[in-house]
């Protein structure tokens, strides 16, 4: 695996004290990839429309 030296140095500085194990680091990176904050907003917006329909007596 080839990674830029400067990037590794920066990353190491950032990670120090944050992750005790390699598993913790990989877990964090995967969480970052799969996290779906956008999905929470989608859900809230759908609920708002449902509430509006409820207010109008249609559901």
């Amino acid at each position: 695996m080839n990674l830029p030296e400067d990037l590794c140095a920066e990353a190491e500085k950032w990670m120090t004290g944050r992750f005790d194990t390699l598993e913790a680091l990989l877990g964090f990176l995967l969480q970052e990839i799969v996290k779906n904050d956008a999905g929470k907003l989608d859900q809230a917006e759908e609920e708002l429309v449902e509430q509006r329909l409820r207010d109008l007596g249609y559901i």
């Binding site: 990037l7 990839i33 799969v34 904050d37 956008a38 907003l41 989608d42 509006r52 329909l53 249609y58």
Partner: protein, 492 residues
Amino acid sequence: MKKRSLILVTVDCLRADHVGFLGYSRPVTPFLDSLTSNTFVFSNALVAGAPTYFSFPAIIASRYPLALGRDVLGIAPGEPTIAAALHQAEYATAAFLAGNPYLNVRSGYHQSFDTFRDFLDSALPGDSITSNGAKGRLSKINIQLEGASRQHRLTSQAYDELYFWYCQWRTARENLSMDSLRRYPAADVIVDQARSWLSSLGDEPFFLWIHLMDPHHPYYPPREALAAVGASEMTPRRARFLNSVWNRDVSTGRLQRYREEIVSLYDAGVYWADKQISRLVHTLQQFRRWDDTVFVVTADHGEQFLEDGSRYHSPTNLRQQLIHVPLLLRAPEPAKPRRFTQPFSLIHLAPTLLHAVGAEIPESFQGRSRWDEILAGELPNEPAVSECLDGCNNPYQVADRMRHRLVTVRRGDHKLVLNFNKRTDCMYDLKNDPEERSPIPIGSLPQERARLLQVARTHLHETRQGQTTELRLRARVRELQQMASTEERVLD
């Protein structure tokens, strides 16, 4: 049977009410107007999102712009698109896009094109009226003055006013031309490239996508185009002044006095796009490819000229000036020319075009082919949804993409606007209120309001349930890779 070719022409910022075939009185689209005698015209075509970055996922991939999650930008790696479908069907594919910063490799628009040019590498001189003044002693004094002026609103306004006129004065002696001021390659440059590519082909089927930026601000059309729209007295200096003043954060009242001239500049851009589209069609005729080509012209969104005080095409609203676009579709069959007045969402464009050329339609497309209905002259009257993220002006910043949605649902003459930021829903009757000035009172037409709300609810539900995890993850990984490479460049 010989496979049909396909040409998709998209014109940035082209609003529906500024083309002759949809009623504009100024003769800005003589060529497209002439085509309508044997084409299908959709007088109520609506984009699925605006501006560019919320519009093209629907045009190219028949996917609502937020359907992979609002944090996903552009076309996901490996996402089925019209280009991918035709590439798989062994079409030669090419895209020549006039420098729109959101239609590029980074956003995945290059996928499945044998030839892809986004013209983002051709540095054009641009409109930098302050670039000469940022040096030396004067500059230091200016920085101090600006700093001091920002302490009070009135002094800040006075500084902005003085600085604006100072810049105008400083640049007054520069030798200018429209060509040197233009930011994007003009349509003739794009069409030249397309012609050259077409001339390199044998008789294989092809898919060509060209995107023209001529009506996009800053507005610097060629002189010939200005003369054609009756604005031959416009000088490059005046055009630069107008573009500068139009970009200022001043009252609508002050801007209003420049509106007519700005519209002339914009119209001249539309004229130039029309003229170059005409050259493209003549090339096809010359190469004997016109008769087996499906040809479509549309836009990614419109443009505002102070309607409700707005300029350009920022996603702070989804008014008709932004979402209503021209759509003209020409096919080789001897079908009767027709004009459809029903709302037609561009989410259906890609599957309809693939059907028209006889290619397979990817299952993932959210739109449905309407080709049979178009040929039969019976387009269904179905609701059209448009969406964007309220105020998201820089989608390259992840935080800017985590904003609330704006959604509109159009059905017949009624349009519902859902603003999730303000938590409002306003319904308009576009027949009697085309400017969307007076929302229908909440108690009126409750059933119609509920119907449109149901469409919005279904749209949001399907967005959430139908998200393709794999495409979403691929897009997220691409973004992280891009962030890493940016980081790498910064560290270098």
